[in-house]
């Protein structure tokens, strides 16, 4: 410790650090700033001055984009997808993680191995047969069909992360509850849940973020405009209004606003969750 306190700081050499870091920062933020600018320009100004700040603020772009982009429908669809998937992943993944970490089911190692293997299978391997199965089951062009797929794809990550939180909880807590006559369900809700909730929060955030922005599977499994989530509908919207940057930018800002709000308020959980579970693309 003492050595670190008295170590001379190399102040001068940090200048280059900050110069490069600021360049990286501008590279990340620049395109988003331009998006923000364009979202409040008139259509004509977005064409004449597509990168600079707006000369006059046109907030009416937002309600216009909301209406033209049918965001009331698509944002609702995406919200249903997010809520359904997050609920499914947390409840079903939580139950499985609880069992794996606290109840030692016979053969649990085999199951973990199965999940690990299952999580490395590329989507492209099962996509085509899955689509025809979903047709047969009548799950194509339904939101719950999409939710089932999202739950399955997010479950390995959720189980691993929740389990890793739960195994850290000392057995004594659980034993004390059992001595007081608690059953398994009470152990889960009264002991494990309150102590493992940061894990649930992280899994919930990462899952929600993934579903909110998911494009590929939604593109394949939903073709009815009334059921489009924001992603596929935004893509069709930008192809239709490719010359109206103010409108498409305003729609984009509304789509990413909830992401940005959550990201900046729960930065640490987001970054930890995404890097730990980051092993999905």
């Amino acid at each position: 410790m003492i050595k670190r306190i008295f170590k001379p700081k190399r102040q001068s050499s940090q200048v280059i650090n900050y110069v490069v870091l600021t360049l990286a920062l501008l590279f990340a933020l620049g395109p988003l700033v331009v998006l923000g600018f364009n979202s409040v320009k008139s259509t004509a100004e977005a064409m004449a001055n597509p990168l600079g700040p707006p000369s006059k603020i046109h907030l009416e772009n937002y309600p216009n984009a909301w209406a033209e982009g049918k965001l009331s429908t698509t944002a609702r669809n995406s919200a249903i997808l997010v809520a359904g998937t997050v609920a499914g992943v947390l409840v079903l993944g939580g139950l499985a993680a609880f069992s794996l970490s606290r109840l030692d089911p016979p053969g649990s190692n085999l199951f973990m191995l199965y999940m690990l293997g299952g999580s490395t299978l590329p989507t492209f391997l099962f996509l085509v047969p899955l689509y025809s199965l979903w047709r047969i089951l009548g799950l194509v062009d339904t939101l719950h069909g999409l939710i089932l797929i999202y739950i399955a794809l997010n479950s390995p990550f959720a189980i691993f992360l929740l389990r890793s939180y739960m195994v850290q909880i000392p057995r004594d807590f659980e034993d004390a509850a059992r001595v007081d006559g608690a059953g398994e369900l009470q152990v889960l809700t009264k002991v494990i849940l309150p102590l493992a909730w940061p894990g649930f929060l992280t899994v919930g955030l990462v899952t929600a973020l993934g579903v909110w922005g998911e494009f590929q599977i939604a593109l394949i499994f939903v073709h009815v405009p009334e059921l489009f989530p924001i992603t596929t509908s935004y893509w069709y919207f930008t192809t239709r209004y490719s010359r109206d940057w103010s409108l498409t930018s305003a729609a984009a800002v509304m789509m990413i606003a909830p992401v940005l709000i959550f990201f900046f308020s729960l930065q640490r959980q987001f970054i930890e969750g995404l890097t730990q579970g980051g092993l999905k693309a």
């Binding site: 395109p31 331009v34 998006l35 089911p105 199951f111 590329p122 479950s155 995404l274």
Partner: protein, 302 residues
């Protein structure tokens, strides 16, 4: 004992509590995973051997799909594009992330802010990133056009419309969103390196580059190699950015295996053939994992 009591007794019994209940809790998610992932994956093995439109009966044709695949120019083009894609993603984001992470590890003031902001593009939906950048790269209005107005010519080209530049332009856009993620992973690994190692390097008179080369790189080696493997696998599975920006065009110049499979399955209804492509893509992933496993056995510390 009445029947009801017997049942209640059984539910409180040891067999139920120790063996059955734990599996009952796992069962729902296991069933969903089997239905969505494992069943169709097994199905893919069979359908890859058939001529099948995706609806109705599939005709068994043995290995014909794979034979066709070997001679298919579109497949070869897509495969070689995937190799270029891999080469790009195994170098550019690594260099960027390593440089920026090591600079960020050396500062205190504002470190959290820089980390979060550089990471930010990673959380954006791919549709948004693609739309922002296709505007920015627009030859008449985007960055290149503005530079030309300022007297800097050469960038006002249709980067996404030109077969020579399209693939790397799409890779550049995907990387804009991706590299911050890699940077944060490297940064976390660097922060786990013991400060004593840096101190002794300084005592030995190491300069910054030598420190980076002899302390930082060996210190994050496991993360580095693991991400090398993961990115090698992911780069065979790219889909979103190519589809959103070019759909494989112009004239197949940015076709990758993912978009090729998509077209065969859902535009041309060659579901059997598409299954064979999916299986081939998965085979590459297995090959890469196997290669790393092999190197590890040979004494590499991975």
């Amino acid at each position: 004992m009445s029947r009801l009591q017997e049942i209640r007794h059984w539910f409180r019994g040891r067999t139920f509590r120790k063996k059955i209940l734990p599996w009952l809790l796992i069962l729902p998610i296991l069933l969903i995973h089997l239905l969505v992932v494992i069943g169709p994956s097994l199905g893919a093995f069979y359908y890859s051997l058939t001529d099948w439109s995706g609806i109705g009966a599939a005709d068994f044709i043995g290995l014909n799909n794979f034979r066709t695949l070997l001679g298919d120019v579109n497949f070869r083009k897509a495969f070689s594009n995937n190799l270029i894609w891999s080469a790009f993603f195994l170098t550019v984001p690594f260099v960027l992330a390593l440089v920026v992470a090591s600079l960020l590890a050396g500062v205190r003031r504002g470190a959290m802010f820089y980390r979060a902001t550089i990471f930010l593009p990673y959380v954006l939906p791919s549709v948004i990133t693609a739309s922002i950048w296709s505007n920015l790269l627009n030859p008449r209005l985007g960055i290149g056009a503005q530079l030309a107005k300022l007297g800097i010519p050469g960038f006002n080209r249709a980067f996404l419309g030109n077969p020579g530049t399209v693939l790397l332009s799409v890779a550049f856009i995907d990387n804009w969103h991706f590299w911050g993620f890699l940077m944060v992973l490297f940064l976390a690994a660097m922060q786990n390196i013991s400060p004593d190692l840096y101190d002794s390097a300084k005592i030995d008179g190491a300069n910054r580059f030598q420190e980076f080369r002899h302390v930082t790189i060996p210190g994050i080696r496991p993360t580095l190699l693991f991400m090398f493997m993961m990115i090698a696998i992911w780069s065979f599975l790219v889909f979103d950015y190519v589809w959103l920006l070019t759909q494989g065009g112009p004239a197949g110049a940015s076709e990758v295996l993912g978009t090729f499979l998509f077209k065969e399955a859902f535009n041309r209804f060659e579901a059997g053939y598409a299954s064979a492509i999916g299986l081939t893509m998965s085979f590459f992933a297995v090959l890469i994992i196997g290669l790393f496993g092999f190197l590890r056995r040979r004494g590499w510390e991975i």
